[in-house]
C-alpha cells in the first residue's frame, strides 16, 4: 500500500481521487497502528469475515464516481496507465439506486424463523460478527453451526465460524477451547479450498515457522518506536501479537537450548489442577502429514474468580514439553521472564514447534508437559510454587 500511496499522492492531495481501504484481518486494530506508522490517513473498512470473497491480498480496485467498478487487480507498475486511463475517463451516470443512496446502518439482527435455511443463519451470524456485537457472539457461533448442519462442506461457513470463535476467544466471554476450535474450522475451510489464500494466512499467522511465508506482525515494535519518535502516541492494540505472529519463517527446525536437567525431574512439586492458573493448549494445525510442522501454544491465565496473580518477586514461569515418537521439538524448555511489576495478571504464552519426519508413522502423538510457576491468590491470601501437568495431542495423518 505505501507504494500506491506514493504513486498517487498528488491526486489524493488535490482531491481528484479518494483512497479507501478494506482490510482482511482478524485483529483490525493492528491496521490502525500500521496506518498511523505509515502516515496514511484514508478511511478503512473492516472485512474480517471476507464477505468480499477475496482470494488473496493485496488487490486494488478502481471505482468511478457513481460507484461502478471500472478495473480490478490494478498493478502498481501500471500506475501511469491508471492516471492516463481511469483518471482521465468520463463515465456515464447510471440510473439512481435508492437503496445504495441511503445512509449505511446495521439492520436488526433477527434470528431466522426457518431452522433449515442456511443462508438466513449465515446472514444472521455475519451481521452479529461484522457489527462486533460481542454480547451476541454466542448466537453467531450457534448460527454458523446451524447453517453448517445443512451445508456441510461449505468452506466459507467454516472460515467464518473460525473468525467468530477467535473473536470470542479474544473477548471477556472466552470459552475453553475457542482458539483451537477456530483453528480447526479454518483448517477445515482450507481443506475444502486449498487455494483460498486468506484462509491459509489465518492459520499461518498462528502456525509454525516452517510454514510461514513471512513474519506477520514483526513491524509492530518498529512502528511503535518510530511513531513515538515523532512525538505521537502509538495506537493501542486490543490483543498484543504473540510469538507466532512475530516469528520469522524458517526452512529447518531451529532448536533452542535447554538446561542440562529438566526442572523438577522427580515431579515432587505440588500440583495445581487448574485451581490457580487456567491452562489452554492450542495446536496449529492439530493434524499434520509426515514432513510437516505444527506450532503448539500453551497459554496460562490467572483465575479471576480467586483473584489469582503472578508473583514476580521470584523466578518466572518455566515450561517443559516431551517429544513424541518420530517427531522433534524446537526445544523442550521455555522460560518466560517476569515483568517488572511485583505482581501481575497477564496471560502468559509459551510456544513450541514440532516437526514430524517424513518417516513418522501415522497416529496421534501425545506430548506430556508441565509448567512451574509462582502464583498468589487473594481469597485466602496465599502464595505458592506450583506445577501443572498437561498433555498435547498432535495427529500425524
Amino acid at each position: 500500500m505505501p507504494g500506491w500511496h506514493d504513486a498517487i499522492k498528488d491526486l489524493y492531495e488535490s482531491g481528484e481521487l479518494q483512497v479507501v481501504g478494506i482490510i482482511q484481518e482478524q485483529h483490525p486494530d493492528r491496521c490502525r497502528l500500521f496506518m498511523q506508522w505509515k502516515q496514511m490517513g484514508w478511511p478503512i473498512l473492516v472485512d474480517s469475515l471476507n464477505l468480499l470473497e477475496v482470494s488473496a491480498v493485496p488487490i486494488t480496485v478502481a471505482i468511478d464516481e457513481y460507484g461502478i467498478v471500472r478495473e480490478k487487480g490494478l498493478r502498481l507498475d501500471k500506475a501511469e496507465e491508471f492516471r492516463t486511463g481511469f483518471m482521465q475517463a468520463k463515465f456515464e451516470a447510471p440510473a439512481p439506486d435508492d437503496a445504495a443512496a441511503a445512509p449505511a446502518q446495521w439492520p436488526a439482527a433477527v434470528k431466522p424463523a426457518d431452522p433449515a435455511d442456511p443462508s438466513a443463519w449465515a446472514d444472521f451470524a455475519d451481521l452479529i460478527v461484522r457489527s462486533n456485537d460481542l454480547d451476541r457472539i454466542d448466537e453467531a457461533i450457534q448460527a454458523y453451526q446451524q447453517a453448517l448442519k445443512s451445508q456441510a462442506g461449505n468452506g466459507w461457513l467454516e472460515f467464518r465460524l473460525g473468525v467468530a470463535l477467535r473473536k470470542r476467544y479474544d473477548s471477556d466471554g472466552r470459552q475453553e477451547g475457542d482458539f483451537q476450535a477456530a483453528v480447526d474450522h479454518w483448517k477445515a475451510a482450507l481443506d475444502i479450498d486449498p487455494n483460498q489464500y486468506i484462509w491459509r494466512r489465518r492459520i499461518q499467522q498462528y502456525g509454525p515457522r516452517l510454514d510461514k511465508p513471512y513474519p506477520f506482525y514483526d513491524w509492530v515494535p518498529q512502528a511503535r518506536q518510530e511513531i513515538a519518535a515523532r512525538g505521537e502516541t502509538p495506537a493501542g492494540l486490543i490483543i498484543e501479537p504473540g510469538g507466532a505472529e512475530f516469528a520469522e519463517p524458517a526452512k529447518v527446525l531451529a532448536t533452542m537450548e535447554a538446561p542440562a536437567e529438566r526442572p523438577d525431574p522427580g515431579g515432587r512439586i505440588y500440583r495445581d489442577e487448574g485451581e490457580f492458573i487456567a491452562l489452554e493448549k492450542v495446536v496449529v494445525p492439530n493434524s499434520i502429514k509426515p514432513g510437516e510442522a505444527s506450532r503448539i501454544h500453551v497459554n496460562f491465565r490467572p483465575r479471576e474468580e480467586i483473584k489469582a496473580h503472578w508473583n514476580n518477586e521470584v523466578d518466572g514461569l518455566e515450561v517443559w514439553l516431551n517429544e513424541g515418537e518420530g517427531c522433534q521439538l524446537d526445544g523442550s524448555y521455555r522460560s518466560l521472564p517476569n515483568p517488572p511489576e511485583v505482581v501481575s495478571l497477564e496471560e502468559r504464552k509459551a510456544e513450541f514447534e514440532i516437526h514430524c519426519a517424513e518417516s513418522a508413522a501415522p497416529g496421534p502423538r501425545s506430548l506430556d508437559g508441565y509448567a512451574l510457576y509462582y502464583v498468589c491468590e487473594d481469597v485466602r491470601g496465599t502464595c505458592l510454587y506450583r506445577r501443572q501437568d498437561f498433555q498435547v495431542i498432535v495427529e500425524v495423518r
Partner: protein
C-alpha cells in the same frame, strides 16, 4: 509487493498435486462494469456502519489488504 509475489507462489504451491487452476490471480467478488456491492462493514476508526458506496461522488482507488 514482496508479499503479493509470495502469495502467488503460495497459491501455486498449495495447488500442487490437485486439479485446480494454479494460475488463478488474486480476485474479489466484484464485477467490472457493475456497481460495487452495497456491503455494510464497520469503519476501522470507530466501528460505525459504512459502505464503499458512501464514497460516491469522486473517483475512488480501493485497496483490499492486510497489515501483515
Amino acid at each position: 509487493m514482496r508479499r503479493l509475489l509470495f502469495a502467488m507462489g503460495a497459491l501455486l504451491l498449495a495447488a500442487c498435486g490437485s486439479t485446480v487452476d494454479v494460475t488463478a490471480p488474486a480476485d474479489i467478488a466484484v464485477e467490472v462494469g457493475k456497481p460495487f456491492p452495497n456491503l455494510i462493514l464497520p469503519a476501522l476508526e470507530d466501528g460505525r456502519p459504512s459502505s464503499i458506496l458512501q464514497f460516491r461522488g469522486k473517483k475512488t482507488l480501493l485497496h483490499v489488504f492486510a497489515s501483515w
